[in-house]
Symmetry: C2
Subunit: 463 residues, 2 copies
């Protein structure tokens, strides 16, 4: 059966594309089949993710869990017989959530109904007594400006524009709604709001509030920002229709502590022919604190380690250097990504490409490429080798938050994002529902195999 | 954002395929975008599946639940303002599981360890006292023949060849292992075995035994056939290595009752120009009894109804007749599929094509086509209209169990199977784990939209 599938893949390649049927292509096709075989037949990455998720848990930058994750992934790579495993020190923001947040609708007669809320990452607290104020629903940042100081001052602003469900790619829906989370607080504070409550970035209707980064702007009063679950948002919106003037009680007391020492974790196989040409494969080791960060982004980390493990298991000696990087602090600062790029620049390192997996451990559908047109063209020439594995969407796209700074060092570095199926991602993204039971072992392995296949081609041929 | 996506789709079409850029193609592209918009923005299908799964539950042929499902889906379609909704009577096998099965490893000193088992569909019982016998592990039907009567007679045969995990498409792994379930009992009975235990058709390691159809052959003694969970199979295999001669106790008492009266449920929109040319969209309404049949195949049923709902919602007047068919008895007899084909033949109906969704309600990846080369070619010409929605795998393949008999009426009927992502299917297939919480609303809706898009094209242009 295996043989049959390989033959089918080769035949497909031969049939559809006479111009790539060299002996080299056939040998590449064979090797890629071996990569998938190895990935699907071995549970190491899945077991590593189980440990990261179930034994360590959520790994917010600066937390003891983040430190444990650094030590664990380094120890795992130390066992692999790599050419080099090392830590790259980086100071990271250290925000802590504190006691569990409380959000309540407060009716005219004092009737209180609790709804699920959580502080957005980076938010300030309300003080121990919490804040009670009238709450106003808006659908956009622009609507706040339109309401103006008269109507906004002293109020809590409730941003309730849902992610648009008609987008086929869920990331497009995210992109169309996430300004409320990122910018809502300071845009509302400009007009005197005392707090903001933001509908969770979630396409499903459920009871999980989703956190995520928000930011303040210099010169604008900092006000508390919280997220409310999608079911909570629906309920609140209905109540507001029945009872304009409804009040809301919010209590949360997160704190920003001094920056903490942390690390990127790096493992490397030296290139046999062009050791100075580097290919990065990576994910981010930190996560939000509510879930255990299985999909975001424990998956990307173990997939990056899997790329190296697969190379060793198949005795592949890559021509170029392959470096698995577990970046620290993607979620609230990108300090790890910035640090990695800074050191690469200082050392005048030559990065051919960087592949990031930070969109969940779901069935891979392709790669999004941010780079020069020649990069896109070169990678698209490998389509026929990758399509038998369901990797059809190979074209211009976004690389990843952690590798983005690397692209600023040189335009000659292609930034490549693994693109898994997006449908389920925002149900777990940044929420307590991001747990290991949502991981499918085969989907996770296919993602690792896809990264390994592309890494192999990049290491053989460069760009 | 929506506009942007549509533009991107059109641009892609224009760029990649100058020969399909007629005004017609652009208008089809627009309409398909509307179909997806409608499917993703409306939760009717999802709510119908919730009812079928949570309120009715597992719907084995001949059961009260199957009857409720017939009434429910007919009532749902009656509300839709279709041109015709009707039942098609069919007599179905009526197999009942009876009391919960018991499987135990029985060690030399009488130590018993229970493992999760369930009767395979159609199996006979062991009698109330159960069967205790020495159990022998084999990896294939051929191995039983090789062992021969001397070694097999009086024993329980344990078929333990796992699904091969290295297949990228999980259905290939299923195809490579399922002979053990279907043929294991009679092949072992030929050599005097007293029962068979078959490793569940599941790529994951867990505690659910998976049922599914098995068959007997005339002239060969019928022996009881049960399935054991994958974890149970691993445990049993390990124990057998430590203790050759291990005995196994199996008790199950399913019964085959007289055939029961049941129905295919059919709803129809008459074609405006070619009403005599019929396009079937379907799934099967029966399911196994262990879970609630959400993925297998409640999903396919509500998707078929969705195709009609979407047509009505968008005020599409299809040129050809579209018929949603909820087939009865796919799992253990295919009587509904046979009946539908028989009546179609008797009435000399002209079926252009039939699309079946019976591979789970997961993100659709394409369509497998069983038909004449001209059918495949015609459908592949629509690739550029469908690829923006992730439907890349459009080519020769398998239509579906229920529509298969229709293909025997005429070679001019194209049989088309919706092909969703296959990675998670065999975790739930035929097991107690096939429940509504495994359904993702968006993935389900995308499957319905994909069927609706292809149905629309078939109804406009025929084949």
């Amino acid at each position: 059966m295996k043989q049959a599938i390989f033959k089918a893949a080769c035949l497909a390649a031969l049939f559809f594309s006479p111009f790539v049927t060299s002996a080299q292509t056939i040998s590449d096709s064979l090797l890629i089949r071996k990569i998938y075989h190895e990935a699907l037949s071995n549970r190491t990455g899945y077991e590593q993710l189980r440990y990261l998720s179930n034994e360590i848990g959520g790994r917010l930058s600066g937390s003891p869990e983040a430190e444990k994750a650094v030590n664990y992934t380094k120890a795992e790579m130390d066992k692999m017989g790599l050419d080099r495993v090392y830590l790259q020190e980086v100071m990271v923001p250290h925000w802590v959530r504190g006691e569990k947040e409380v959000g309540k609708m407060v009716g005219k007669k004092g009737k209180k109904v609790e709804v699920p809320v959580c502080a957005l990452g980076g938010s300030i607290g309300t003080g121990k007594k919490g804040i009670t104020a009238e709450i106003i629903e808006v659908k956009s940042l622009e609507e706040v400006a339109k309401l103006g100081k008269d109507k906004v001052s002293g109020k809590i602003i409730f941003f309730n524009r849902p992610m648009e469900p008609s987008h086929v790619n869920a990331f497009h829906a995210y992109g169309g709604a996430v300004d409320q989370r990122g910018r809502g607080a300071f845009e509302a504070a400009k007009y005197g709001a005392v707090a903001v409550i933001v509908r969770s970035m979630n396409l499903a209707l459920d009871d999980f509030p989703h956190t995520g980064a928000m930011r303040y702007e210099d010169g604008i009063t900092k006000i508390p920002a919280a997220s409310i679950s999608t079911n909570g948002a629906e309920l609140l919106s209905h109540r507001l229709k029945d009872e304009p003037g409804l009040q809301f009680y919010l209590k949360q007391n997160p704190q920003t502590l001094p920056d903490a020492r942390s690390y990127n974790v790096i493992g490397e196989i030296k290139g046999s022919e062009n050791p100075d040409e580097i290919i990065v494969v990576g994910g981010h080791l930190d996560s939000w604190d509510l879930g255990d960060g299985s999909h975001d982004d424990g998956a990307g980390c173990v997939q990056a380690i899997e790329v190296l493990r697969i190379m060793k298991a198949l005795n592949i000696k890559p021509k170029r250097t392959i470096r698995a990087v577990m970046f620290m602090n993607e979620e609230n600062g990108v300090r790890g990504g910035l640090k990695y790029a800074e050191e690469a620049k200082n050392k005048n390192e030559n990065h051919v490409a960087a592949i990031e997996s930070d969109a969940g451990g779901f069935t891979p559908r392709g790669f999004g490429i941010s780079g020069l047109p020649k990069h896109v063209k070169a990678i698209q020439q490998w389509k026929l080798l990758l399509e038998p594995y369901g990797l059809h969407d190979i074209g211009p796209g976004y690389g990843g938050v952690d590798i983005n700074p690397l692209g600023k060092n040189s335009k000659e570095t292609a930034l490549i994002g693994l693109e898994p199926d997006s449908q389920r991602y925002f149900e777990v993204h940044h929420a307590a529902s991001d747990t290991f039971d949502k991981i499918n072992q085969r989907e996770l392995a296919l993602g690792a195999a896809s990264m390994a296949a592309l890494t192999y081609l990049l290491s053989e041929y460069g760009l």
